[in-house]
Subunit: 86 residues, 2 copies
């Protein structure tokens, strides 16, 4: 069964986010004076063929820990849904 | 009123995604032979202080078009929710 998986990878609380900080520093000059708390992250979408949702989730979690996220500085959140197959 | 905004920026359909392609190429060697359709994107989270949800959405849409996304190669999706203030 195929599952569409979205992994949102973000920096852990307390880890500096230079890109977000820079955007926040610059936007007031462009007229947006009401923007705060800018944080940038990465998203990965993929399709996993697994027996069930738990198996798909476990595999993606393992992939994230092994190679996709840096657990020292990043958190990740996995969400998945069954993919309709024609 | 403050709104927590998430912008998910992804490559348009048909635009090459070298990072996603490379991850998909490499994962079978690590034992994951059931992964397809890997696409990488960016996420931006920010807080906007606006009169209402429509105003917040319009402003973020304008910011995306002006400076955050590249409309030639990227799509973006805005989702927002009112932020509880203590």
């Amino acid at each position: 069964m195929k599952f569409e998986v979205t992994v949102e990878i973000s920096r852990r609380e307390g880890i500096l986010d230079p890109e977000g900080t820079e955007i926040e520093r610059v936007v007031p000059a462009l007229g947006y004076t009401n923007v705060t708390g800018v944080r940038m992250g990465r998203t990965m979408r993929l399709v996993v063929d697994a027996a069930d949702e738990a198996a798909a989730n476990d595999q993606v979690d393992e992939m994230c820990r092994r190679l996709l996220a840096n657990p020292v500085i990043e958190d990740y959140r996995i969400s998945l849904s069954a993919l309709e197959t024609a």
